[in-house]
């Protein structure tokens, strides 16, 4: 290894240790902020990665897609804002890797007005180019329509009635792929990647009323809510946060951004746990100290 690199690592570790010491010594929040920055930036600089255990919920989603016959019609949703791209975009990318590898026909849509269609367009076109897929034949981006409950319900009767044109304004009747897809009955599986409560509607409207299996990928903060649906069999697989995305990347054989982000997340989680323990240790010491001593 390059000796300068070793020196850089030693300096970075020393800087991290110093920041931690100062943060706990002074309880100044700026040192805590600096320490968090350090633990986010450090793993990115040294590209440190750790193996990820695959959770049963992630494997369930992967297996469900694997079990689909080749050339199945699959709906992939981009129901997330740009704020959660770090967690959700790797899920969409991994899903597209698996779907395009299986030659599935991919229909994409979004219920997010701000940037949802742009994200879907950018990610899908990039992955489609890698697999030599053609727009209108192998994948179609429906884009955004207002009032998602009506959109989800209406697509059960006719997708064309809700989306007369795709995201670029091309009539659906002119896209060869849409000759095979009229409503939910022509779709074999739905993967809803989301950072909000829209997944509830995919379950209550589409899964419950039309019987189409739904798998989901959600942010870590909302993942606990969906365990109830996985347990009840109403969700076929669940990707929870960046960890879920990293697991899915590992399963599809394309470790990428989520896998890289895992080390930073690991270090920050460990730092927060250490902070909580240290904060409680200080609290207990202060509590046991006699009041007179504390006042002196």
């Amino acid at each position: 290894m390059n000796p300068w690199l070793i020196i850089a690592y030693v300096l970075l570790i020393a800087a991290g240790a110093f920041l931690l010491y100062r943060a706990f010594r002074t309880a100044d929040r700026r040192y805590i902020y600096l320490a968090v920055s350090f633990f986010v930036i450090f793993p990115v600089l040294i590209t440190l990665t750790f193996p990820t255990e695959i959770s049963p919920e992630t494997r369930q989603l992967y297996d469900a897609v694997e079990a689909l016959p080749d050339s199945s019609n699959v709906l992939l949703t981009f129901d997330y804002y740009a704020s959660t791209l770090a967690e959700t975009e790797p899920m969409s990318r991994a899903a597209l890797h698996q779907l395009f590898r299986k030659n599935c026909r991919v229909l994409t849509m979004t219920t997010i007005p701000l940037g949802g269609p742009s994200i879907a367009e950018r990610v899908t076109r990039e992955l489609a180019a890698q697999y030599g897929k053609k727009y209108g034949v192998d994948y179609v981006n429906l884009g955004y329509k207002a009032n998602y409950v009506a959109v989800l319900k209406g697509m059960g009767s006719s997708i064309e009635a809700i989306y007369p044109t795709d995201n670029s304004g091309t009539p659906l009747a002119e896209l060869p792929m849409m000759a095979h897809i009229k409503n939910y009955h022509d779709i074999r599986f739905i993967i809803a990647i989301s950072d909000n409560a829209i997944v509830d509607y995919w379950i209550s409207i589409v899964r419950a009323q039309y019987g189409i299996p739904v798998g989901t990928g959600v942010t870590a903060v909302s993942a606990p809510q969906y365990y109830a649906y996985v347990g009840a069999g109403q969700l076929t697989g669940l990707l929870g946060g960046m960890k879920g995305a990293a697991e899915y990347e590992a399963l599809v054989g394309h470790p990428a951004r989520a896998t890289m982000g895992m080390t930073a997340q690991s270090l920050v989680h460990l730092f927060i746990i250490f902070s909580v323990l240290a904060g409680n240790a200080i609290y207990l010491i202060q509590k046991r100290r006699p009041k007179s001593q504390g006042q002196a």
């Binding site: 943060a23 309880a27 929040r29 805590i32 902020y33 320490a35 968090v36 920055s37 986010v40 750790f50 990820t52 255990e53 959770s55 804002y81 740009a82 704020s83 770090a86 701000l114 269609p117 742009s118 367009e121 950018r122 076109r125 329509k145 207002a146 009032n147 009506a150 959109v151 009767s157 006719s158 009635a161 809700i162 995201n167 670029s168 009323q209 606990p224 809510q225 365990y227 109830a228 929870g240 946060g241 960890k243 990293a246 895992m262 997340q265 690991s266 270090l267 920050v268 989680h269 460990l270 730092f271 927060i272 746990i273 902070s275 909580v276 323990l277 240290a278 904060g279 409680n280 609290y283």
Partner: protein, 219 residues
């Protein structure tokens, strides 16, 4: 009149959607009527977006004219609305820079201005959580201690380094956390919340349909 008409519209719209659920959409009149109602809802939804834009421009432009506190930020909001919206609304046949497709002004502004700003705002949460965890997350009583221990275990379980650490303590500890905390206690509580919220939503829908709940009319 201003109260009765909206109540009748709300009652009929709700009734159609409830009844349509029980009828075959291809073989019954009410079933065939459902997609029509849904198309109306989508169109009305489009107009509500327009209403939102008009409202944000009116409120912020008024504040700029009055030179109210922080009017500079409000001016930035108004300018941003038009800079994002206008090129997106212009027809693409005039220029490939218009519309919302790849390479358009809207797409560029979204990918290189809006997305980084939104991601930055969201990422700042990590700093606040770390600071708050150190300063406020205390084992003051039995409930807080239980929460603290559970949170620590779940945080360790959700990252590979923590997972490896837990496996060193007991090889099946990550699996036990998934089974008993996430798939056990968490799932039971979430089910209670979901069922409670669904019953609340059903009761609220009924109140709106029957005209008991009128807050949506500004009453």
């Amino acid at each position: 009149m201003r109260t009765t008409v909206p109540i009748i519209i709300a009652f009929l719209s709700g009734l159609v959607m409830v009844l349509a659920f029980f009828f075959n959409p291809e073989k019954s009149t009410i079933g065939r009527f459902e997609p029509e109602v849904l198309s109306w809802v989508t169109i009305v939804g489009g107009f509500t977006l327009l209403l939102g834009v008009v409202s944000i421009v009116r409120v912020n432009y008024g504040a700029v004219q009055r030179r109210s506190p922080n009017w500079g930020y409000k001016l930035a909001t108004v300018i941003s609305v038009f800079v994002m919206a206008l090129p997106a609304m212009l027809p693409t046949r005039w220029s490939p820079l218009f519309g919302t497709g790849p390479g358009s002004i809207y797409d560029w502004l979204f990918n290189y201005v809006d997305a980084p700003m939104m991601s930055t705002m969201f990422a700042m949460l990590a700093f606040y959580i770390a600071s708050a965890a150190f300063r406020a997350f205390r084992a003051r009583n039995a409930e807080a201690t239980l929460l603290l221990v559970t949170a620590t275990l779940v945080m360790l379980w959700r990252v590979p380094m923590g997972e490896a650490l837990l496996q060193n303590i007991h090889h099946d500890l990550p699996g036990l956390i998934n089974t008993y905390i996430m798939g056990g206690a968490n799932m039971a509580v979430q089910r209670g919340i979901i069922i409670g919220a669904a019953l609340g939503a059903a009761a609220m829908s009924l109140r709106i349909m029957l005209g008991i709940e009128r807050t949506y009319m500004g009453h």
